[in-house]
Amino acid sequence: MKRCGFGRRWLGLAVVGLVVTATTAWAADTIVLGTAISQTGKYAREGKFYVDAYQMTVDAINKAGGVKVGGKTYTLELKMYDDQSDPNLCVRLFTRLVTSDKVNFLLGPYSSGITIPASSVSEKYEIPMIQGGGASEKIFDRGYKYIFGTLPKAEFYFQSAIEAATKMNPPVKTAALLYSNEAFDRSVAEGSRQWLKEQKIEKVYDEEYQPATQDFTSILAVIKSRNPDLILLAGHVENSLNFIRQAQASDISPKMWVFTVGPPTADFRKTLGKAAEYVYGVTPWLEDMEVGGEIFRSAKEFGKQFRERFGYEADYHVASGAADVLAYKFAIEKANSLDPKRVRDALASLDVETLYGRVKFDPTGQIAMGQVLIQIQDGKLVPVYVAGKMVGKPLYPMPKWGQRK
């Protein structure tokens, strides 16, 4: 037994070693972007947005002539793993991408919770990572130099919504704040408290809930008893869907309600149907915004191509993912080098217009972008408030459930 056991162990190690350390050889003139992203697990829905966005942008860049470095033309390639929405697996896969697959640069995973540990890998090995799926300040307040993000700061998410609320007629006086016990949403809530105070809106409810919560009826009962004009919910899409449905079943209808993540995505509206009407959301990007740059001349063009290829509408997640890949093209060409440190410096000083808007990172690595307050009207996203101004007509206040057409 002893001999068998030890012999097997050596054999096992050898086999495993051979199989697992086999490194892939990349073609000479390619630049490989590696990522581990949620293709299965609880973030599979959002992960798909990025998978598709990365793929389409890489193809578009290659079609338009690739990336030019030192007089040579390189094609971009993607190496994508599935992190199964698991931070532990994600870290190991990123380590593999860097040490075994030897990719050139990294694209981020989805969600702040997974990006925080994943970015430690890029920092440890000093290879840039650009991510478009994490907005919490916890990603950027560690003094890391190699992490960049194209989602604006979480604390500012509801700022435009809260400002707009005071400009409604009649203006919002009381608000309920409800948020999920997760990095991103807690950041949103912290910021929201500040904006509510600034705008002198009275906060009548301020509670946290567990991300896996499905049943909001108790929460709704309490909120109903406090009768707020405005409800702010920072949470996962499933939470928002449940909340709205159950609010309907409990006959709760504030003057205005705003949700993170969900409203700009097409299947949010599809799943809720009529109940999605009057819902407000925030997004840094809309298809009919007047932004554009190289490769994709306008947001509209990008949206059209995306819809034609993948069969669903692009939202800000998709645009953010595309911007990540584009940022690499511009940074690499600006640095005229594939050296990670030089590209990193080029990213830090990048300032370029794209289909997503202006891509410029602040000293901590995060992009600075305003959020547009949108409202779902007749199944469409209508911009209502941006950069301090009302730009559209909001349907306000929201009618009671029994009075909707």
């Binding site: 829905r45 896996a212 009826t217 108790s218 409990s250």
Partner: protein
């Protein structure tokens, strides 16, 4: 007024939890199999209801018999050809294999039906009525009624029919049952089929209230543990009692302590009950 609404919410929630746990209680109490695949069975029931609703427009309450039947067949086959093979093994092996079944089911569902959120949305989904300042959603009320009806039916099944007696006899003493000519392999399969059918019915109810995804089952399995143990394993009415206890505990704790506490409380309850009264509120017989 808030207090009353919280109370009503808790009771209605209890009905939903109750029907979720009946199936698990049956399988655990009778066959001593802790069915980790319970959650996925609920998920399957929800999907069956969803597809019959989406493809053919069948009302979810009316398609209930179809859901129940299809889950029964599935459960029967699963037990007969796979689980029956390890029935006499140590308990952690049965736990492991049902876990394996869970993983396979969830992933197959994901492959076939994708991770997109689905929901069954009959026209009356959000309908509610007001009485004395309380708002009561119709669907939850009907779910509660369905739970009671189903529990009573199964109670009668177990106490008054030959099949029920055969199931109980097999549960008490496997060898003796076999000696008296009861086809135990078949009876076990029928029992699991019934448990699966009940889970399927719960899934149909669940699908009307909450979004359906392949991974919805995990949390439901854990909740069912709590409910089944609280009420008393193997007792038909135990699931309702356990469901009510949990539903009320969650409703009150969420409102008066904070929305992040209900889960902590439910698992705390589970551990406490196991330590002090493992047979649950209604249970009889030994648990130690």
């Amino acid at each position: 007024m808030l207090l009353l609404q919280v109370l009503v919410n808790g009771i209605l929630l209890g009905g939903l939890y109750g029907i979720m746990a009946i199936g698990m209680s049956l399988i655990w109490g009778v066959m001593n199999i802790v069915n980790i695949a319970h959650g996925p069975l609920i998920m399957l029931g929800a999907y069956v209801t969803f597809w019959t609703f989406t493809l053919w427009g069948w009302d979810p309450f009316l398609s209930l018999p179809v859901t129940i039947l299809s889950l029964f067949v599935y459960g029967y086959l699963l037990q007969r050809f796979i689980l029956n093979l390890i029935v006499r093994a140590q308990l952690f092996l049965t736990l492991l294999i049902t876990f394996g079944v869970e993983v396979v089911m969830v992933n197959l569902a994901r492959i076939f039906w994708s991770s997109d959120l689905r929901q069954v949305t009959p026209s009356y989904a959000a309908a509610n009525f007001a009485v004395g300042g309380l708002t009561i959603p119709y669907v939850r009320l009907w779910v509660f009624v369905t739970t009671v009806v189903v529990s009573v039916i199964f109670l009668l099944l177990m106490e008054r029919t030959r099949l029920g007696r055969a199931i109980r006899a097999t549960a008490e003493e496997l060898r003796a049952a076999r000696l008296t000519g009861i086809p135990v392999g078949h009876i076990y399969a029928v029992t699991y089929g019934l448990g699966a059918a009940l889970a399927g019915a719960a899934g149909a109810m669940w699908g009307m209230l909450f979004p359906i995804t392949p991974i919805m089952g995990g949390a439901l399995t854990l909740k069912s543990f709590v409910v089944a143990v609280l009420g008393g394993l193997g007792t038909m009415m135990g699931a309702i009692v356990g469901g009510l206890v949990l539903g009320l505990a969650e409703s009150f704790s969420s409102t008066y302590i904070g929305p992040t506490y209900p889960n902590a409380i439910s698992f705390g309850l589970l551990v406490l009950i196991l330590i002090f009264r493992p047979t649950g509120v209604l249970g009889r017989g030994e648990g130690r």
